[in-house]
C-alpha cells in the first residue's frame, strides 16, 4: 500500500503552486497517484472551517474517511464532538485519532481496509451546483450536461471544477481548455460569483450539521493562552527583541555549543589517518586512502554536529508554531524588499540548505514575490558554507570571549550570515524594481496555536537532513577526492621526477626535513592539478589566492562543501609530516606563502575567501532546483551571473583593502 501525503490546503481552489497539486490529483481519476481512499485529517477544534475542504473532496467522488484529530485540544477549549452523529450526517466513515500520541490509528487502519474492500460514499453531493443554483432561479442544467457529455464525466462537482479551474489542470490539453472557455461564454457562466456562492452555501450546510454534532460550551471572549503568548511575542518592542535573541541563540549553538563535538570528530579523523599510515604498507593505495579519501570525507564529517544543531533549531521553530509569528512579524519589512512574510521560511531554511528552501517558496502565491525569493535565497549562508567559514575563522580570528559571554569567532560567524542576509535583501530590492508583478500579493494566513514540539518529528527531521547531507555531499567528495588525488600525484611524462631532482639539487645543503618539504611542494606544482591551478592563478591573484586555492575553487564549483576536503587533500600531499598527523586547521596555519615568507593564510586572504564563498553560487543542486522551480534556464543563469560577479568583486575589494 502506498500512502501519498498531499500538502495542507483550506479548499479545493488553490492559492499557490504547492496547493495546485491537490486538485490536479483529486479531480483526475486517471492520475497515477489518484487514491483508492482519501483520508482527510481535520483539526477537530475548528470543525466548521475544516469541513469545507472535506465536503469538497467528498463531492469529487473519491471514497473518503474523515479523521478527527486534535480532539484533546478541542476538549481543552470545551468543545465536544459526537463522531457517530457526524458520520451519519455526512454519510461517510469518521474516525477519532490523536496523531500526536498515535491514538486511534488501529481504528483508522480498519476503516481504510473496509473502505477499500467495500467503498462507502455519500448518496448525494453535499453541494450540487445544479440544485444549489436552482433555488436561486439560475439554471445550470444545460451547462452541466454539456460539460459532463464533452469530458465523459458522471459527477457534477468535477464538471464544475473543469469549468472553474481548467487553466490550472495539467491533465487537460489546450483544445479541451478552449472548449471549456467556449462553454463558459455560451452560458454566460460567472466563475468567481459561483465560487463565492459555493463557499457560502457549503458553510451554511456545514453550520447546520455542526450545530447537531458539536457541543461548544466555551465562554465567549475567552482569550486562550496561545493568544496571551501572541501579545508578548508580537509586541512592538519585545517581538523583535525576542526574534533577534532566537537568531543569536541559533548561531551560538551552531558555533560554540557544537564545538566540543567538532573537536572530537576532528581529532578522531586525525587519529584514524595516523594509525592507518602506520599499520598499512606504504604505497600509492595507502596514500589514496589516507590523503585522498579519509582527508576529504573527514573534512565533511566534522561538520555534522553543526548541521544537526541547525536543523534541530529550525525544526523546533516550525513545530512550535513560532515560525508563523515570525512571518507576521517580518511581513511589513519583507514587503519593502518585494518579498512576502512567507519568504521568511525559505530565507531561514536557506541557512540549512537552499534546495528545500527553494521548494518551500511554492507556498508564496504571487509569482513575483516567489521569483524574487528564489533569486536571493542562495545568498543565505547554507550549511555547506559552514565548513569553510569554520575553518577560515578558526585560522585568523582569535578565540576569546567578549562582552562576558559571546564568543568572538561566533560573532564573526554571525557577521557572515548577516552579510548574506543583507545581500539577499538588497538583491531583492533591486529585483523588485526590475521584475514586474503578474498578479496580486496575498498574505492571509492562519496562526496555529502554540504547541509542544513532537520530539519524534524533530528527531526524524534532523536525522534525515544529516544523513542526506552526508550521503549526497559524501559521494561527491569521495569522487572528487580520488580524482584530485590522482591529478595531484601524477604529472605529464617525467615532470614529477624532474621537479624532484631539481628541488634536491637546489636545496642540497638544507636539513633533511626542509628538503622533503621542498620536494613535495615542487612535485605538487608539477602535477596535473598544479598545472590547472597555475592556469587559473592570474585570474584569482587579485583576490589574494594562489594556485593551490585555485585547485580548490575549481573542484568546489559543483558543490562548495568540497572546498575543505580539497584543501585537506592538497595539503596532505604537499606535506611529508605524516607521522604526526595534523588536523586541517593546523596544516593551513603552517602553510607558507613562498613570495612573502610569512603565513599563506593571512587575515586578508582568509576574509577574501570568506566573502567569496558568502556570495558565490557554487552549488549544482541549487542551479538545478532553480531551473526546475522556474521552468527554464533564464533565471538560474541570471542568478549564477549576478552572484559570481558579486562574489568576485567583493572578494577583490576585501583583499585589496586588507592586504
Amino acid at each position: 500500500m502506498t500512502v501519498v501525503d498531499l500538502p495542507g490546503v483550506y479548499s479545493i481552489y488553490p492559492k499557490s503552486l504547492d496547493e495546485q497539486v491537490v486538485t490536479d490529483i483529486l479531480a483526475n481519476p486517471q492520475h497515477p497517484d489518484y487514491p483508492d481512499v482519501a483520508i482527510v485529517v481535520v483539526d477537530a477544534s475548528n470543525l466548521n472551517r475544516n469541513l469545507l475542504l472535506f465536503t469538497q473532496i467528498q463531492d469529487l467522488g473519491v471514497p473518503v474517511i474523515l479523521a478527527l484529530n486534535m480532539l484533546d485540544i478541542a476538549r481543552q477549549q470545551q468543545v465536544e464532538i459526537n463522531a457517530v452523529r457526524l458520520a451519519m450526517q455526512l454519510g461517510v466513515p469518521v474516525v477519532k485519532i490523536n496523531a500526536r500520541v498515535g491514538e486511534g490509528l488501529d481504528l483508522l487502519k480498519q476503516a481504510i481496509e473496509r473502505q477499500i474492500a467495500h467503498p462507502v460514499t455519500a448518496s448525494k453531493l453535499f453541494f450540487d451546483p445544479e440544485l444549489a443554483m436552482h433555488a436561486s432561479g439560475q439554471d445550470m442544467k444545460g451547462l452541466m450536461a454539456d460539460v459532463r457529455q464533452h469530458y465523459q464525466l458522471t459527477n457534477n462537482y468535477i464538471a464544475l471544477q473543469y469549468l472553474i479551474q481548467h487553466d490550472g489542470f495539467s491533465f487537460l490539453e489546450t483544445p479541451q481548455r478552449v472548449k471549456l472557455d467556449d462553454l463558459i461564454e455560451k452560458y454566460q457562466f460567472k466563475e468567481l460569483d459561483f465560487q463565492a456562492k459555493e463557499t457560502i452555501g457549503r458553510y451554511q450546510h456545514i453550520g447546520d450539521i455542526v450545530k447537531n454534532v458539536v457541543t461548544d460550551s466555551r465562554p465567549l471572549d475567552q482569550s486562550t493562552w496561545s493568544q496571551r503568548i501572541d501579545r508578548f511575542l508580537l509586541h512592538p518592542v519585545w517581538g523583535y527583541a525576542i526574534f533577534a535573541t532566537v537568531l543569536l541563540l541559533i548561531f551560538q549553538a551552531i558555533f560554540a555549543w557544537a564545538q566540543p563535538f567538532v573537536d572530537g570528530i576532528d581529532a578522531g579523523v586525525a587519529w584514524l589517518n595516523g594509525t592507518l599510515h602506520e599499520s598499512l604498507p606504504e604505497g600509492p593505495l595507502t596514500d589514496l586512502l589516507t590523503d585522498g579519501i579519509i582527508a576529504g570525507v573527514g573534512g565533511v564529517v566534522v561538520f555534522i554536529p553543526q548541521i544537526a544543531f541547525l536543523f534541530l533549531l529550525v525544526s523546533l521553530l516550525e513545530e512550535s508554531g513560532y515560525m508563523s509569528r515570525v512571518m507576521v512579524l517580518m511581513d511589513r519589512v519583507m514587503r519593502q524588499f518585494g518579498l512576502n512574510g512567507r519568504s521568511v521560511v525559505p530565507l531561514i531554511s536557506g541557512v540549512a540548505c537552499a534546495v528545500p528552501a527553494l521548494m518551500a517558496t511554492r507556498s508564496i502565491g504571487s509569482w513575483r514575490e516567489r521569483l524574487i525569493t528564489i533569486l536571493v535565497t542562495p545568498l543565505m549562508s547554507c550549511s555547506a558554507r559552514l565548513p569553510i567559514y569554520t575553518i577560515l575563522i578558526a585560522l585568523v580570528v582569535p578565540e576569546k570571549t567578549v562582552l562576558g559571554f559571546l564568543n568572538l569567532q561566533g560573532i564573526v560567524m554571525m557577521g557572515l550570515y548577516l552579510l548574506g542576509l543583507s545581500a539577499a535583501l538588497l538583491g531583492a530590492y533591486i529585483f523588485k524594481i526590475i521584475i514586474k508583478a503578474r498578479e496580486r500579493s496575498l498574505f492571509v494566513m492562519e496562526l496555529p496555536t502554540y504547541k509542544w514540539p513532537r520530539w519524534n518529528h524533530v528527531g526524524i527531521t534532523v536525522w534525515d537532513s544529516v544523513t542526506s547531507f552526508v550521503w549526497q555531499a559524501g559521494r561527491v567528495i569521495v569522487a572528487i577526492s580520488i580524482v584530485l588525488w590522482v591529478l595531484a600525484s601524477y604529472g605529464p611524462g617525467d615532470a614529477l621526477e624532474q621537479a624532484e631532482n631539481r628541488a634536491r639539487r637546489e636545496s642540497a645543503n638544507r636539513s633533511a626535513e626542509e628538503i622533503e618539504n621542498r620536494v613535495a611542494s615542487e612535485k605538487l606544482e608539477a602535477s596535473y592539478a598544479g598545472r590547472f591551478g597555475k592556469v587559473l592563478e592570474p585570474a584569482i591573484k587579485p583576490l589574494g589566492y594562489d594556485w593551490k586555492i585555485g585547485i580548490a575553487l575549481i573542484s568546489s564549483f559543483a558543490a562548495r562543501e568540497v572546498f575543505v576536503g580539497t584543501i585537506a587533500t592538497i595539503y596532505s600531499i604537499g606535506s611529508v609530516d605524516e607521522e604526526n598527523s595534523t588536523t586541517i586547521k593546523q596544516r593551513l596555519a603552517t602553510e607558507i606563502n613562498p613570495e612573502t615568507g610569512g603565513p599563506m593564510y593571512t587575515p586578508a586572504v582568509a576574509f577574501s575567501l570568506l566573502i567569496f564563498y558568502v556570495f558565490a553560487m557554487m552549488c549544482m543542486s541549487t542551479i538545478a532546483t532553480v531551473y526546475r522551480e522556474t521552468k527554464g534556464w533564464k533565471w538560474p543563469m541570471i542568478q549564477l551571473a549576478y552572484m559570481s560577479v558579486l562574489a568576485y568583486v567583493s572578494a577583490f575589494l576585501v583583499y585589496q583593502l586588507m592586504k
Binding site: Y10, Q227, D230, L447
Partner: protein, 79 residues
C-alpha cells in the same frame, strides 16, 4: 459583491479587542480567499493583536486566529 463606499467601516479600522460583524466585501478576488477561511457575512470578528508596525493584524474569527495585511483587512466591511 458591492464596491466600497466612502465612510464604510472595515476590519482594518477596528481597535485592539474591538468586535464587529462582517457585512460584505469590497473586493471579489479577495473575498473568495476570505470566505474559504471562514470570514462569512454575519460572522463576528475581533481584532486580537497587531504586528509591531501595526501591519499585518491578527483577527479572531470563527474560533481561530487569522493574520492578514491591513490592506487585505480593509476589504472586509463591517456593520
Amino acid at each position: 459583491m458591492m464596491t466600497r463606499k466612502a465612510g464604510k467601516r472595515s476590519v482594518a479600522d477596528l481597535k485592539l479587542g474591538e468586535k464587529a460583524v462582517i457585512q460584505s466585501f469590497s473586493d471579489q478576488w479577495m473575498s473568495l480567499k476570505l470566505l474559504e477561511m471562514g470570514c462569512l457575512p454575519g460572522t463576528e470578528v475581533s481584532l486580537h493583536c497587531k504586528a509591531p508596525l501595526g501591519d499585518p493584524i491578527c483577527l479572531n474569527v470563527s474560533g481561530y486566529c487569522l493574520s492578514m495585511r491591513k490592506s487585505e483587512a480593509a476589504t472586509i466591511l463591517v456593520e
